[in-house]
């Protein structure tokens, strides 16, 4: 089965990889070019961060899925696990792409992160901001860099560990590997939870250093997991359209992916509302400012779009069993959810342009950033998938997954 062509990527994808890479690099250069010629590069950096976090969150969802799969000894998901493993490998290129954000911060730029402006913490300066000064022990460029290294280091270690062991099992079929991975997955999940929470605080919440939300990490995780399941559905659908995994991934697996999509849609809505309700009810100025900014200057429309587009519509959309078992419709919903996930991140990041005075203004820079990072993301995904079986061929639970039946 290892040599079966039906579980290996078509060579034709290699040209796609090159095209995607070329388009990605060009688009990013174009975005940078436009961004830098503008009066402030604030818009470019925010837009870049939005797209960066968008693709990062998909890979983080994958990084969550793989250990959870081992931790719960899941049987159904063996056939789709390799795709998740491949997606989590993309954390490596994401670490490189993060340098575009990290270097300016390290060298003192504060277009993106207001707290990096030394005038904000200098007592007596006109710009002095007591709260930022108070937080400067945590929010400073050096510690920020150290944390970013820790996050990416942890993620890449987890991703590589699970991926390489899984590949090793493809070769020798050692059942002990499954047990070993199960043992380490508990630690991986804990590390994942901590790093993702703090990474979301660092990269998204600290855009507005005056804002506090203890649930923000969970909110970001909910969107990540949801977009990951949607993205994996699309990837598997495309692979099947290409004739791969034809009899391996059945509608039963789509059904399960759909269940996850449904569940995380509700989870996202639940968390997003939990965050909003507490802030709305308590009505504490340092918390409500963030939402206030997102209800003015035309952002209210985006907020309403999220309520319906990110929750109500997909919630009822993927509620039915019949839809979840139809891969064409389910993939359609997955694409819709992926679009809404971008809107969600756009809503989190972009109102902070120029430190919170911007109106929604989706334009060429945003498109270039999505295409740019997306192109590189896809190209590296193909690169990781080349010459590797698309399912873990000697996993002891593979037969269970192949024979999956939903009740």
């Amino acid at each position: 089965m290892t040599d079966d062509e039906s579980i290996r990527l078509n060579p034709a994808w290699q040209s796609v990889r090159l095209v995607a890479m070329a388009v990605g690099v060009l688009a990013l250069l174009l975005a940078m070019g436009i961004g830098m010629t503008q009066e402030t590069s604030s818009y470019f950096f925010h837009s870049y961060l939005t797209s960066f976090v968008y693709f990062l969150s998909i890979s983080l969802g994958a990084l969550f899925f793989v250990p959870i799969h081992h931790l719960t000894r899941a049987g159904w998901s063996v056939v789709v696990r390799r795709v998740a493993e491949l997606l989590s490998q993309n954390l490596i290129p994401m670490a490189i792409l993060f340098l575009v954000i990290l270097f300016p911060v390290l060298f003192g730029s504060h277009t993106l992160f207001e707290w990096n402006d030394p005038a904000k913490w200098e007592v007596g300066s006109a710009e002095y901001d007591q709260l930022i000064a108070h937080k400067s022990g945590y929010l400073n460029s050096i510690f920020f860099t150290i944390r970013a290294i820790i996050y990416f280091g942890t993620w890449i270690c987890i991703a590589r560990y699970f991926f390489l062991n899984s590949l090793a099992q493809d070769g020798n079929g050692d059942k002990q590997i499954t047990l070993k991975l199960q043992k380490w997955s508990s630690l991986a999940v804990v590390l994942f939870a901590l790093t993702v929470t703090f990474a979301s605080f660092d990269w998204l919440m600290s855009l507005d250093p005056h804002w506090f939300s203890t649930i923000f990490g969970v909110y970001f995780f909910a969107g990540s997991a949801l977009s990951f399941f949607a993205f994996m559905t699309v990837v598997i659908f495309l692979l099947q359209q290409d004739g791969k995994m034809a009899n391996i991934v059945t509608k039963e697996h789509y059904h399960d992916l759909g269940k996850y999509t449904f569940g995380f849609t509700l989870f996202w809505g639940y968390i997003a509302f939990s965050q909003f309700l507490l802030i709305w009810y308590a009505n504490i100025p340092e918390e409500t400012g963030w939402y206030l900014r997102r209800q003015e200057n035309g952002w209210a429309i985006v907020a309403i779009m999220l309520i319906f587009g990110h929750f109500f519509i997909p919630f009822f959309g993927v509620m039915s069993r019949h839809i979840r078992r139809n891969k064409y419709i389910l993939t359609g919903w997955a694409v819709f959810i992926l679009v809404m996930h971008y809107v969600d991140l756009y809503y989190i990041v972009m109102p902070q342009v120029a430190h919170g005075t911007a109106a929604p203004n989706f334009g060429l820079i945003d498109v270039c950033c999505i295409v740019g990072i997306g192109g590189l993301y896809i190209s590296s995904l193909i690169w990781f998938a080349t010459d590797k079986p698309l399912v873990p061929v000697k996993d002891p639970r593979l037969s269970e997954s192949l024979a999956l039946q939903n009740h």
């Binding site: 309700l277 069993r321 039946q405 009740h407």
Partner: protein, 490 residues
């Protein structure tokens, strides 16, 4: 009778085929379904994939029931909160509107979940026709192994396709079939034993007694304290009036207002309340506090500071104990009377005059700050006739019945009330008249406690209207009215 029933041949209700392995059962199910049978069922020791399709069992409608009840639950939650919070008991919490969706969503969500859960549970029981206490299949000894290692397929005799021999042959011909068993109806009597019926009815009746007693207790008067199983808010820890509070150092249960504050939501335009155009913000607050103090009947310490209060301040002591002092007050007014009669002299004579040098006349409102309509005037007349006319007379000439009687009795201390048509009053600003009604003047008591501010202004406008009856010119009468008058005159 029962002997006979047992002797009769029990009624056949179905045929049951037994299998040793699940694959044969699945194949048999396919075959039976293809033969057109619909009233069939299969029994297996464990869930068998594909059995639904093989038997042609339609997908359950349970999800629809759950969805519908979930949506209903959502609307129930919404409606419950709307009715209770926004309609029956509008209560502002955390300065949120009484009807605000974000606060209601958790309850809506929980009720959706609750209803959906009930729908799943009850709907499942209902769709499975549960609870069923017995099934004829249980009487077949072989059937016990359906929970162990055998697989069964049944065909009901009521099936349209059922033909005694043909069906039997079909089952006999199934591959892997090890036995075909006839299932008979349970011949034992289906009715409940009479004793259970009586006990059941008895228990039901007894169970009704406590709620009936409760109901009776709630709707009847009684000389003994009532038993109160659902206490609601009947008994609560609260500070009643005229009791000493152990919580506060001063022992008061009613907390006095903090000086220099006005309660939220009690802001009313001070002009409306005092008839004085305030010059500073502090004055505003003082006016309001003073107004509040007057209305509550409590004494305001800040009163003396109020420049507008110079006059009423004299009258205040009388206000404080109105009931007891009334006869006194009526008896007393003597010395001011002449002053009132000649309003021109009145002012200097009035005791207000000495105050004038130190406290300039407040900035009275020239024209009543209310919207004057016909209804206002009607209201003013009504209130005037109730409160003012007894002394001032229905036409404002100062010849009210009380006054007439007092003069008749030649009460030595009686001062006839002011004639409202004197120049003194004609030139007074509205605000001052209003102030006089509120706080009283000389021997007239203040009516601030009794008459709401709106009504006091209505009285002022009515007094103005009364004055117009003497000072008005024919040109001021609207043409339409004039015409009417002419017609009447003719």
């Amino acid at each position: 009778m029962s002997q006979e029933a047992n002797n009769t041949e029990p009624k056949l209700i179905g045929l049951m085929a037994q299998f040793d392995d699940p694959d044969s059962l699945l194949a048999a199910c396919e075959k039976v379904r293809k033969a057109g049978y619909t009233k069939t069922d299969a029994y297996t020791p464990f869930p068998l994939h594909g059995i639904d399709e093989a038997l042609g069992i339609k997908p359950t409608i349970l999800p629809w029931i759950v969805l519908m009840l979930g949506i209903m639950g959502g609307f129930a939650g919404l409606g419950l909160q709307y009715i209770t919070n926004a309609d029956w008991y509008p209560f502002i919490i955390s300065a949120k509107p009484v009807w605000s969706l974000p606060a209601n969503i958790p309850v809506i969500f929980e009720l959706v979940i609750l209803h959906a859960a009930f729908a799943v549970f009850i709907g499942m029981l209902f769709l499975n026709k549960l609870p069923t206490f017995s099934n004829p299949l249980f009487r077949v000894p072989e059937f016990a192994r359906a929970t162990d290692d055998k697989f069964f397929l049944t065909i009901d005799v009521n099936d349209e396709k059922y033909k005694p021999n043909k069906t039997r042959d079909l089952l006999d011909g199934l591959i892997g079939q090890t036995d075909v068993i006839e299932v008979f109806e349970d011949p034992s009597p289906a009715e409940l034993p009479k004793i259970i019926k009586f006990v059941g009815i008895g228990v039901a009746v007894v169970a009704l007694v406590p709620p009936l007693l409760l109901w009776r207790a709630y709707y009847q008067t009684s000389t003994v304290p009532r038993i109160n199983p659902i206490r609601d808010m009947d008994v609560q820890l609260r500070g009643d009036t005229q009791t000493v509070s152990p919580v506060f150092a001063d022992g008061r249960t009613m907390r006095p207002r903090i000086p220099g504050t006005v309660a939220r939501g009690e802001w009313v335009d001070p002009i409306m309340l005092t008839g004085i155009v305030p010059e500073t913000g502090e004055q505003n607050v003082l006016f309001l506090q003073d107004e509040e103090a007057t209305e509550e009947g409590t004494k305001k310490p800040a009163e003396e500071e109020n420049p507008a209060d110079d006059k009423p301040a004299e009258e205040k002591p009388a206000d404080e104990k109105p009931e007891a002092d009334k006869p006194m007050a009526e008896a007393k007014p003597a010395q001011d009377k002449p002053a009132d009669a000649n309003p021109a002299d009145a002012k200097p004579a009035e005791g207000e005059a000495p105050a004038q040098p130190e406290e300039p006349e407040p900035n009275w409102v020239k024209i009543a700050p209310i919207n004057v309509t016909r209804a206002t005037l009607e209201r003013g007349r009504n209130r005037y006739n109730i409160y003012c006319s007894v002394c001032h007379g229905l036409a404002g000439d100062g010849d009210g019945l009380v006054s007439q009687r007092a003069l008749q009795l030649e009460q030595p201390t009686w001062i006839p009330p002011t004639n409202l048509h004197t120049d003194y009053l004609l030139t007074q600003p509205d605000g001052k008249i209003y102030n006089t009604i509120t706080h009283g003047i000389r021997k007239m008591k203040g009516y601030g406690d009794q008459i709401p501010a709106e009504d006091r202004w209505a009285i002022v406008t009515y007094v103005r209207a009364l004055q117009k009856t003497r000072t008005g010119t024919p040109e001021e009468i609207p043409a339409v009215e004039m015409k009417e008058l002419e017609i009447k005159g003719q």
